[in-house]
Symmetry: C2
Subunit: 328 residues, 2 copies
């Protein structure tokens, strides 16, 4: 491999001068600069980032820890992160926990050893161990997906989104509104969205009916099952269903169709996430776009701000957009 020393030798200068040319730092005569650049070009010399990082303590790499890449939300967020970071010449070191929370901690350590300049975590939980590890860490850190206490977090406004979509149904005259949620251990998606639903009911003095509230997994099948449970359990049937993800809504839609119920005239239905799917099911799904690319980009910007200006805000909520389509 051709090194800086080699370039210096060929150009009859010291490596200090080569370094100055490369970094545009300090004075170098035009003459010498040109000579060096020519040689760099001819040899195809590429400086070693490891040596550079070792010296400067800066790697221009940001670690990203994510639970699963093959979900639309995750890939939209990572895309947002990657575009924003690329603008500032940062690269992403990607680690994928495949939903194993133990790996989150392992990867935090790994990324530290790789000496990334910062870490962005797409969090699914708010585990104590993780928090400890982050606090031990002396690396700028941004969480997204979940708010993590004491850690700069970029999150969606899940509470208001759920509340608004519930209100929308209430305005349309629905009073029997069912809810398909997920485990509240997922604080943002499980707890906050449910809280938004409950808040809207309460404000409108609608009763909370336990049989109309189901807990599901993140799959279409689970949405189907949840809708079935709701319709089997209750003597009075709901006229609307709010699902906390599009996939759950689509599962519910399958069940409803199977029962010969029309969406939306018999039962209105909403999802959340603005997935690709939501546009192409029939009827098209009313949903909420959480602008995930934007969430990712904002997480990246937050991290860059910490890196460059030392400014560290605690919490940033990203706006969402309600998308009204044919399912209500």
């Amino acid at each position: 491999m051709v090194t800086m020393k080699e370039i210096a030798r060929l150009a009859n200068v010291s490596s200090a001068t080569v370094s100055r040319v490369l970094n545009n730092s300090g004075y170098v005569s035009d003459d010498v600069r040109k000579r060096i650049l020519k040689i760099i070009d001819e040899t195809g010399y590429i400086p070693s980032e490891h040596a550079k990082a070792l010296r400067t303590k800066q790697s221009n790499v940001i670690g990203v820890i994510l639970p699963k890449l093959s979900t639309e939300t995750a890939s939209r967020i990572v895309n947002g992160i990657s575009e924003e970071l690329a603008k500032h010449s940062y690269q992403i070191l990607l680690t994928n926990t495949n939903l194993d929370p133990k790996k989150e901690i392992e990867y935090v350590k790994l990324l530290k050893s790789k000496q990334v300049d910062g870490i962005i975590l797409l969090a699914t939980n708010r585990g104590e161990d993780l928090l400890n590890e982050i606090n031990k860490l002396q690396i700028p850190f941004v969480a997204t997906g979940q708010e993590i206490e004491g850690v700069p977090s970029v999150i969606n406004n899940n509470f208001h989104a759920a509340k608004e979509i519930t209100n929308l149904l209430i305005e349309k005259g629905h009073r029997n509104i069912a809810f398909i949620g997920v485990d509240e251990a997922d604080y943002e998606v499980g707890h906050k969205r449910k809280a938004g639903y409950l808040a809207a009911l309460e404000e409108n003095q609608l009763p909370v009916v336990d049989e109309w509230i189901a807990k599901a997994e993140f799959t279409i099948e689970s949405g189907y099952t949840a809708a079935k449970e709701i319709f089997n359990a209750s003597s009075e049937k709901p006229t609307a269903i709010i699902a906390v993800t599009d996939r759950l809504a689509i599962g519910a839609m399958e069940y409803l169709k199977e029962q010969g119920l029309n969406v939306p005239s018999d039962v209105a239905l909403t999802g959340m996430g603005a997935s690709d799917l939501s546009k192409y099911v029939h009827p098209k799904l009313t949903t909420i776009d959480f602008l995930s690319e934007h969430t990712g980009a904002e997480a990246a910007r937050t991290l860059l701000r910490i890196l460059q200006e030392g400014i560290s805000l605690e919490k940033k909520q990203i706006d969402y957009r309600l998308i009204i389509r044919d399912s209500i």
Copy 2:
């Protein structure tokens, strides 16, 4: 930051010994080993990968260059890569060209400067400049998505997949089979899939009708437009349409429905890619699953084989799976 030197000092040994403990290399007495491990644990010491990489010329990082993360295929492939590499303690340094071919070359250089141990490229084209850059490079390299001459490539069997799906329609009695393809500059998706279609026609002595062959972009809208063109241009209408992606097929499906044509009884329709969408449109789409996670994993394995055994096969074709659903 606590360094190896510091650990050595605290343990009253030399850093050489600490290094030996860390790497399980050479002899270290149990006594000393325990003492060192204890101190490492207490201090939370994490070795610097940059220093290590500088010394050993090995980083345990694989560079991945992709055109766009937010497509289902790309994220499935990257997921496959990431899972396979994780098994072998390699991490991914992710670079995203956002479909800018100039960036492919730029990122090849960047990844070299980051001294990744190898590079996996999800290629969309087979540009000459890129090939030159790769050849200049002295880093193990695997391409996927496109076969790149002289470079180990893991690709899908696009020709046979397209041929098989065409044959399937022919067996069903279709003789007027239209084709919605993409630019043949995308050799695998544009050229090979079209070639497979043409080969099936030829083998069955069916005529190639130019009006039945449309070129589209990678969007649902473009599939709609292409189907419209086909139906407007030709006096004799096709009874089946083969689209080279699911999104194109879904666009075509929208057009057909709009025209009051029933899928599959009036016009049969097939896609390729086994996207999530394909399962949830009505009728469900007959398509081809290219097993993208598997493609990614195989690309990773190919790279690891080069890295670990120096074995470098030229070309590997991944199997596909035909998924027959209701659209034919």
